[in-house]
Symmetry: C2
Amino acid sequence: MKLQGIKPIENMTQVDRIEMNLHDYFRNENFLPGDSIPKEIELAEAMGVSRTAMREALTRFKTLGLIESKKNRGMVMTEPDVLQNMNVVMNPRLLNQETMQDFFELRLVIEMGIVDLLFVRKSDDSIKKLEEIVEKEANAKTINESLKLDIEFHSTLYKISGNHTIERFQRILMPVFDYMKNTLHIRSQEQTADYVSHKVLIKILKDGTVEEFRQGMYKHLIQYFEQIK
Amino acid sequence: MKLQGIKPIENMTQVDRIEMNLHDYFRNENFLPGDSIPKEIELAEAMGVSRTAMREALTRFKTLGLIESKKNRGMVMTEPDVLQNMNVVMNPRLLNQETMQDFFELRLVIEMGIVDLLFVRKSDDSIKKLEEIVEKEANAKTINESLKLDIEFHSTLYKISGNHTIERFQRILMPVFDYMKNTLHIRSQEQTADYVSHKVLIKILKDGTVEEFRQGMYKHLIQYFEQIK
DNA sequence: TATTGTAGATATGTACTACATATTAAAATC
DNA sequence: GATTTTAATATGTAGTACATATCTACAATA
């Protein structure tokens, strides 16, 4: 049986073991963000390894955003940014089709699920913001401009959700969603009979119910949902 | 203005620059998963830096899962696992309250949004699986046992969604969700008037509509949704 | 001929040493 | 007492050396 992120101990390198030890050490000693940690040489000596190997293990923690080092000052625990690395790695060129399909669906899932947050946190101000975007859309000259405003509309919805993490997450998913949009041949909105426009969505957001808005959003995204089998 | 994951060039180290160069190099040369890449020394010499510094940059890529090295064999590009690092870093001890609240909400958002997938991909088999879990729940002796079966029920729903990535994502979110569950004082289900049980959810999944199921799910999770303001 | 054994080449992993450099703190100077 | 100098500090970078797992190719053996 093969588990993700786990490698057999027989072909673990010393640095792998150092990393594990450090992990235990940080947890057992209850190091928290802001706490400074012993210097490289001390850690290396305490573990009986070279500074070289210790530094490589520490580099891994730095890459994950669990520690930071300042030249000549030492190292401190940091609060990791859960989404940071995801951003680097979310590259359609590198991911397989199935994974991208999964993220494509996840984007749709979130778009539908976020509705509950929208109705708790919507405000007159934020609705006005949406209306301004729709107005610009009506006057858009080029396709590119329309696309940009479409993205802005949905991004604004994410902002209204009041959930900064979800908002960032959505931005990170965008390259994959875009890629899938171009790969799958998506029908244009005009071809869809009961398409719901941004304008209608706003109206529901203002005066309608959560359920109505969700159904509206489903229809708004119908071309994408048709891809799901 | 401070952007996430970007540091001013004046306090970039050499390794930071090497990392950027490598990034460009991999993209420009169109290296894809499976391709082997030049050896450390060649890269170091080509870039005019020491093997030490080059190795540190390469360690970052290895940590992100973009390349793998086999001792004495060389290095190859790999398909990154987008969620792998997230798992390491998703630690309630290290994250701030706001971020955890965000992920708490994200979990709820996904639980609501996933319903569309469920109705596309449900099967008699999978529904039977849910029924078995509910049966076990009825006979559960301890609270711990009940909790485990509750998790199993929802995990099974994620499986039914047919989206492996979302399923994994949910598992990664669990520690944070659990933490929040204990932090916020959540009412018990029994105190809730129109609580919808697992059993009822199954019935709707079998014979009901997407909208009915989603409303059922909302009521099932009502104690959590009450926390959102 | 087919198999096994051996030798050499290979590239990463680990260790050690040395020094550069930015920052802090202590000491010296006025 | 305020300013300048000096010294100590810990990470960043460089260079060298060697260990080691794996592959290749060739040699030895049956």
